[in-house]
């Protein structure tokens, strides 16, 4: 009984953090039943994650932008434009893919710093500044693709980013070995990290959850990681897209939760004036967040171009709104200062699951938009209500 009570208290306290996982869980089970198990099949899960990738990286950056009370509407067409530039450099200029990718990412940062200049230095509202950038890059995309139309990319390395899978050394019972190994390492790494944190906290005499709950949590999360790995291993294993998203998530999660910069970002978001008076350089933080956003837009452009194996004249259209929706579903607050990178990833997967599941069921596109709109509104209502109750 004591364990149950403790678990109940934990869930109640962290409902905002767990809510998103619970929702995702519910969505997955519902679709799996409605599609007779097709939804959770290896092939479909792999597809789903790949189709969410280029929005997920945008959602990570967008979460930070919204945390510091701004917005970035330009990311969609920045992704489209830079994706086209990448295609041109690869196919028409004959650059190596290993040169193209860093150059594109740096271009992204430069564009983001320019957005930052308008917002932080000149005090132009982010909505307007990035709306202008959105129009400019929409035009730029049309301009660079004007002569050729769609640019086909034939570089196998580049295309692997959107379509390829990590190599498998050998297959065991038709399961992808490297994927299984990575999954196993992830589980061990997770357990090691949790145990180390717990030992540290005990050493400092801090409060920790009871042993049974701790073990239960370890087993539960290990099972989830294990299950996803198992499913993916049954198809082609981890795709490069999934690996990129995981890496971005890990890096951004580390920065936001464990570094001075991360703390400064949340401080600026919670109360810019207090942050300034605490000696935090609000402008610098704005530059960094906007720069990182456009760098991720560049990455998103690369991933999308690679996935389509071509740069099209309409690439990037409405990416920004999908990213904003994913960030809000993931629990970011427009009041500033609240929102997690991991939430954004979950938000992106939730939105992609909805599209994917409804496609499998053959739901018409008109209903799909309405349902996704409803889920977005529902997520924000949940957020507002739990926040009020918290007060």
């Amino acid at each position: 009984m004591r364990i149950v009570n403790e678990a109940k208290a934990l869930i109640k306290e962290n409902i905002r953090d767990y809510g998103m996982f619970i929702a995702l869980f519910a969505i997955m089970i519902t679709f799996n039943i409605l599609t007779n198990g097709m939804f959770m099949s290896s092939r479909n899960v792999s597809n789903l994650l790949d189709s969410a990738g280029y929005i997920a990286v945008l959602a990570v950056g967008m979460t930070l932008v919204i945390v510091i009370r701004h917005i970035d509407l330009s990311v969609g067409y920045i992704a489209g434009f830079l994706g086209a530039v990448a295609a041109i450099l690869l196919m028409q200029q004959g650059w190596s893919v290993f040169l193209v990718i860093p150059v594109i990412l740096i271009l992204g940062i430069v564009i983001g710093l320019f957005n930052g200049l308008l917002i932080a230095q000149l005090g132009i509202p982010a909505f307007v500044a990035t709306l202008a950038a959105m129009l400019i890059f929409r035009g730029a995309l049309l301009q660079v693709t004007a002569g050729t139309g769609t640019i086909i990319v034939q570089d196998p390395f580049f295309n692997a980013i959107g379509n390829g899978f990590i190599p498998s050394v050998m297959e065991i019972n038709s399961l992808h070995l490297t994927t299984l190994l990575i999954g196993l390492i992830a589980i061990l790494f997770f357990i090691y990290g949790e145990v180390k944190t717990r030992i540290d906290r005990i050493k400092y005499n801090f409060e920790v959850v009871s042993v049974p709950i701790f073990v239960l949590k370890l087993i539960f999360i290990s099972l989830i990681i294990g299950y996803i790995t198992y499913i993916l291993a049954g198809y082609n294993g981890f795709s490069w897209t999934v690996i990129i998203v995981l890496l971005i998530t890990m890096i951004y999660h580390f920065i936001t939760s464990k570094t001075v910069l991360g703390r400064q970002i949340y401080a600026v978001g919670s109360n810019p004036e207090a942050a300034h008076l605490s000696g935090i350089n609000v402008k610098k933080v704005t530059y960094i967040v906007m720069g990182s956003m456009s760098m991720l837009a560049a990455l998103s452009g690369i991933m999308y171009t690679a996935r389509l194996q071509s740069a099209t004249t309409t690439a990037g259209m409405l990416f920004e709104l999908d990213a904003i929706a994913a960030a809000y579903v993931g629990g970011v607050s427009s009041a500033g200062g609240v929102g997690k990178v991991t939430g954004a990833i979950i938000g992106a997967i939730v939105m992609a699951s909805l599209t994917n599941g409804m496609n499998l069921m053959g739901v018409g596109i008109s209903y799909q938009y309405m349902i996704r709109g409803g889920v977005l509104a529902g997520a924000v209502i949940f957020d507002v209500i739990t926040r009020k109750r918290g007060k």
Binding site: Y204, E207, V260, G262, S270, L277, S278, G279
Partner: protein, 506 residues
């Protein structure tokens, strides 16, 4: 004896935990200029809000009688219908609209719901003539100076056939010419039969203009002085304003150990580019090691602005003059420079710009010194928690845990978090802006105790406070500010309430 236009009988207004007005009686005779005087927080503004219907009938006890009839105002519109207009210090004008629209806003000149703009402009010209303001009605408000904007407000009130005009510190933001102009206008309005209540801190104005002056202190009417009887002079007003007994108890300072000068401002001026005026003018102050100096004055006297201007100038004032730290001239480009140089500033408005309410106690305490809990930019969260626990127990922050959100703490505990944040910076100079505003007596005493401990350890403190008792009880020296200038410096042993108030109301 002339009749009373306004009588307020035994008005009592309570806020949760505070009696803002306690049995206040206030009478205004028709056609007189009546000044309402008292310290910050004495209850003047609350009284005027009761009168104008901001606090509707039923939220207060007592009666409002106008021209012999008991009134029950539920909204501001009700009081306007009864001929009362109130003009706040913060003007309620629309900067991007022309003068004539501002005068008739909410009271449009219309025919069957359609506004007659030509008629509006013609009428507004009459109103402008009445207040002696020579501008075109088409001028935008934002192109006028504060003094002229004030006159537009009065014109707006006159357009509603006002009988009783209430002005809340009308001259606080005006220069001397504009102030004189305004006072002349009020006298002219008196001739036209308009009664005027004026809240002011400038006692010279009271002496020149008032027919009567009512003094309020701690939510009670102290007395009404009458000019004809020769009762209105600065001395008598101050005596009645400050006659409060000092009940606050201050912890004993063990022994004073005052060292060399560590901070000095010479001929220090700050010009606010948004307001378009100087907020600090030619200030000269100095602070010694181990000393508490009190910065006294009324609200809006420029004390907070002075603090901000030396603390890295976050509001981007144009600064003039010299700032010396340890006798060396210093310039701070950013608040972070000031912090590095050993300054810390605990803000007056802890919820507005002091704390991160949506974050927990730990993040708040370490926010100004993240380098103190990190290595190469990576946080050591366990160290952070240790720091937070240390301050929680040493400053007695009462909370369920250090993970509690700061927004959920009481005012006193929020203030302790705010102070802890700055103590963790280990500054040499701590600027405390209204350190005990809105917190209970017990928490106040604890904060005073902490202050004494700090100066014992060699820190120096600048305390900005509107509470005379606190200024007198804690400071070694007192500077009094008014209108952005330092009006005087008093040693603690020579200081009393009258002396401070005399300087503050110059």
């Amino acid at each position: 004896m002339a009749e009373n236009i306004l009588e307020m009988h035994t008005i009592t207004k309570e806020f949760p935990g505070v009696k803002a007005l306690d049995n206040v009686t206030f009478q205004v005779e028709k056609g007189e200029i009546h000044c309402l005087v008292g310290e910050n927080g004495a209850g003047k503004s609350t009284l005027m809000k009761v009168l104008s219907g901001v606090y509707p009938y039923g939220e207060y006890e007592g009666d409002i009688v106008i021209n012999g009839k008991v009134q029950q105002f539920n909204t501001i519109n009700d009081s306007e219908d009864a001929g009362i207009a109130i003009i706040y210090q913060e003007l309620a004008l629309f900067p991007d609209l022309p003068v004539y629209e501002n005068i008739y806003i909410g009271n449009e000149v219309k025919n069957k719901g359609v506004i007659n703009w030509n008629q509006t402009i013609i009428k507004s010209k009459d109103m402008l003539k009445k207040v002696n303001l020579k501008v075109k009605p088409e001028t935008l408000i934002k192109d006028l100076g504060v003094g002229k904007q004030q006159l537009v407000e009065i014109a707006k009130a006159l357009s509603k056939n006002v009988q009783l005009l209430i002005l809340d510190e009308p001259t606080a933001a005006l220069n001397e010419d504009d102030s004189e102009n305004l006072l002349d206008l009020i006298k002219a309005l008196k001739v036209q039969g308009i009664t005027c209540i004026m809240i002011t801190h400038k006692l010279k104005e009271v002496v020149t203009i008032a027919d009567k002056a009512t003094i309020i202190r701690d939510g009670q009417t102290i007395c009404t002085l009458v000019a004809k009887k020769g009762e209105i002079n600065e001395r008598s007003i101050i005596k009645n304003m400050v006659g409060r007994e000092l009940n606050d108890i201050f912890p004993k300072r063990p022994e004073k150990n005052i060292g060399d000068t560590i901070l000095e401002l010479q001929n220090w001026s700050a010009y606010d580019q948004q307001l378009g005026r100087h907020v600090v003018r030619k200030a000269d102050i100095h602070l010694k090691k181990g000393e508490i100096i009190g910065l006294a004055g009324l609200m809006g006297s420029g004390r907070t602005e002075l603090a901000l201007s030396m603390f890295g100038n976050p509001k981007n004032y144009k600064l003039k003059g010299t700032l010396l730290m340890n006798h060396k001239e210093t310039h701070f480009k950013h608040t972070s420079d000031a912090i590095k140089a050993g300054l810390a500033y605990v803000t007056e408005d802890r919820k507005g710009n002091g704390l991160f309410l949506a974050q927990n106690i730990t993040s708040n305490i370490t926010a100004a010194n993240l380098n103190g809990v990190s290595n190469n930019g990576i946080l050591n969260m366990n160290e952070e928690v240790t720091v937070a626990e240390r301050y929680k127990s040493s400053i007695h922050i009462k909370s369920s845990s250090i993970n509690q959100l700061v927004g959920k703490l009481s005012g006193g505990n929020q203030q302790k978090v705010s102070i802890s944040k700055w103590l963790f910076v280990s500054p040499d100079i701590l600027i405390l802006d209204e350190p005990t505003r809105g917190i209970d007596v017990g928490a106040k005493f604890e904060i005073y105790t902490v202050m004494n401990e700090l100066i014992n350890r060699g820190m120096s403190i600048i305390m900005i406070s509107s509470e005379l008792g606190e200024v007198l009880g804690m400071s070694d020296r007192i500077y009094v500010m008014a209108e952005g200038t330092i009006k005087g410096e008093i040693k603690a042993e020579d200081a009393d309430q009258e002396k401070v108030m005399e300087l503050a109301t110059q």
